[in-house]
Symmetry: C2
Subunit: 156 residues, 2 copies
């Protein structure tokens, strides 16, 4: 495959949640990741981990929204206009979401997880265990990022 070719992915499952709208951002809520039954065996051993990455499709993003190159973080005009790759906006050329979640339990083909900020019905692409390689203890972030984080913490 060359870098110009398209890649076709097929969801491994779907997210189930009772959260509506901004409620999905509540990190204390739990959701279910329902994996396709024929893939249940591929979950064997997942319960040994406390944290997993979930990759999912941002399926409410239109073809034209995928062409967005710059955004204000969270639509806030008081913050700088930035390239989409400098933010976690849903508006990106390949609308794939990535969230680190806490694994609460595994029952057959259903994972109960905490902190998954995705809507009900979201297609899931992959589940990966969290590794210390994925950890940047001394990560540097821009000022606008720190400002957003502070505001979020004050709201909690």
């Amino acid at each position: 495959m060359s870098a110009k070719q398209e890649i076709i992915l097929k969801p491994i499952g779907v997210i189930r949640t009772t959260a509506i709208g901004n409620e999905v951002r509540d990190k204390t809520r739990t959701s279910q990741v329902v994996i396709r039954k024929e893939l249940t065996t591929a979950l064997n051993g997942v319960d040994g981990f406390s944290h997993l990455f979930v990759l999912f499709v941002l399926n409410e993003i239109s073809e034209s929204q995928r062409k967005t190159l710059k955004v204000h973080p969270q639509g806030r005009k008081d913050l700088p206009l930035l390239g989409v790759f400098a933010t976690r906006t849903m508006l990106r050329p390949n609308p794939v979401g990535l969230t680190l979640v806490e694994l609460v339990k595994v029952e057959a083909n259903v994972l109960t997880v905490r902190g998954l900020d995705a809507f009900d019905g979201t297609p899931v692409l992959d589940i990966k265990p969290f590794d210390s390689w994925d950890n940047a203890e001394t990560a540097k972030v821009p000022a606008w990022w720190t400002q957003l984080k502070k505001e979020k913490e004050q709201k909690l």
Copy 2:
């Protein structure tokens, strides 16, 4: 889009490295992520971050390898046979790789990064800034994972 529908992604760029074979696992090596020229604007502000996630296509994986449900971690028969979602194996239903890298520099449409374990020519799907939300300070991992990690550290 329903959970059963396929999703089509188009690479945003390609990985360039002189590393061959297992050399790509050397976390001290640098690689280039060359983004498609028409997306250069979308990198604006990326240089404010020290760490980024790179999502890429595991493009050496065949259709039949994507059907693998269980593996021994790193092919080691002395370690348990586990579901692919409990490991970071390349053999997975959707062959998408995820690596946290250190950003060394940004020049026009080229990111120089450290620690990207992907081969030369690998198609890139997304770049996301690393956030403290992505950090699990107290992550629990299984015994086989700790064993592999210890062995890796002893080799360094």
